[in-house]
Symmetry: C2
């Protein structure tokens, strides 16, 4: 489904809970992961993103605490009816760093104290891979991409200490890896090129059983294929888990695989490079 729908239309479908897994939806538009937390932790979380831009690439944040309708920079979401509490297909609720429940919207839990952060998502480069003849396996099998807890330490920022990077995985043949790296390299603001690849790469990341992902679903390997790993926007949720009871109040995130379609496109990638003017 969804190969021709555009960003605003996709968000409305998500708001109406008529879309779930957003892989392959609205090609060419950058997708975003989510973290929403009380304003007193917002500065530390912002620093965490800036210190870990591969796993937590900051695309935008709410303009005013408590207001779920406006995001800065403005190009990220342009429609005035945007609502961060409804426009993701599905949400997760965390309490004292622990997953509590999943929800289709956050309307009755959001408070005037909440700040939302949009984090780049690797789904953004998947249609570029497909266009290059390198379609991600999970799109072909209609599954949720496999995600794993790695041993790459998250560099600490304020209360966020002791976390590790989550990685997503797509199988490719070793002969394809140079092209896969080249195609995804420009996507700096949505995880960019892989962080590791091959079976030795899996070992270096501390991943012992590729068939047992921590999030999403196992992926099918064809003859001779090896895993290729990208940093993953589920990482902030792990940072919240690590901060644990230090965080008072509720924290919200997207359900893995269930993203926001932004109004930014592939053409905005260069402009989104750190240090470029936006």
């Amino acid at each position: 489904m969804g190969s021709t729908i555009a960003s605003q239309e996709a968000r409305v479908l998500c708001r109406q809970n008529r879309l779930t897994n957003t892989a392959g939806v609205a090609p060419g538009y950058l997708q975003a992961n989510l973290l929403i937390l009380p304003v007193k932790y917002a500065a530390d979380f912002h620093d965490l993103c800036l210190r870990n831009p591969v796993s937590c690439p900051l695309l935008g944040k709410t303009s005013v605490p408590g207001d779920p309708h406006a995001v800065q920079p403005k190009g990220c979401i342009q429609s005035p009816d945007f609502d961060m509490r409804t426009d993701f297909p599905k949400y997760r609720v965390y309490e004292k760093g622990k997953y509590r429940e999943s929800r289709q919207d956050l309307k009755d839990l959001w408070t005037s104290d909440h700040v939302g952060f949009l984090i780049g998502c690797s789904f953004s480069f998947e249609d570029a891979l497909t266009a290059a003849g390198l379609p991600p396996r999970h799109q072909k099998t209609n599954t949720i991409v496999a995600m794993y807890r790695s041993t790459i330490p998250l560099l600490p920022a304020g209360i966020f200490t002791g976390g590790h990077c989550i990685v997503s995985m797509r199988p490719y043949h070793p002969s394809q890896i140079d092209r896969v790296r080249d195609v995804t390299r420009p996507y700096l603001s949505t995880h960019g090129e892989p962080v590791a690849w091959g079976w030795d790469g899996a070992k270096r990341l501390g991943i012992t059983d590729i068939d047992q992902p921590d999030f999403g679903e196992p992926q099918v390997f064809e003859e001779g294929e090896v895993p290729v790993f990208w940093a993953c926007g589920v990482t902030p949720q792990i940072a919240v888990e690590s901060a644990g009871a230090q965080i008072g109040g509720l924290v919200f995130a997207h359900e893995p695989g269930h993203m926001l379609i932004t109004d930014w496109t592939v053409d905005d990638l260069q402009r989104l490079r750190p240090g470029s003017s936006t």
Copy 2:
């Protein structure tokens, strides 16, 4: 020496080889590490910095390949007589990823093909630590800060794969660590807050003998003190070592401990945050 000299004066002293270790020189001015490489590897190295901003925080780069006199953004170095080939106290020369020699200037080795990158340096926050009553040990003992190879993987970019983050170490008492983190946190563009601390932190970084640093000199621990580790701008040199023979032509770097004094000051830190306009 040097507590009152300013940036341009310090650079001239370095040019004349009348200064060596720049720790404590020109307080309030941000210091920079160096990597110079042939232009064909410049895009990959630029991406490496953006993907690893804690160990490789990019402060500036030469405006035109082959021109050692001008740096962008302009605020970084304002004096028109600046020369990247002479204004560091001491340089290292790498050939095919291997250290070849140290030099006081690069005049006869620099080519019209070379691009220079200035990387933030942790010396920048040391006077803030001193002002907070937390002076770094190596300044009190007049030694070169201890630096170690850690097991934090450097996230790959193009030809730069397989590197690890170098860390600098300053001993502090556990009761001081919260303040040390708070004081250094704003210095995002010059490594910011620590990446690990304590003896368990040393273990997590893969450092087995604190008295055997890989660069610099061992530091004296006082009763009850533990190591505190920051990412270090020697890291790009390790990235070059890892790329090895893939790099044709000569690569240059600063001699560890021997930095460039820039014209940026503590007041520029907020402006230098990724995504801020410069």
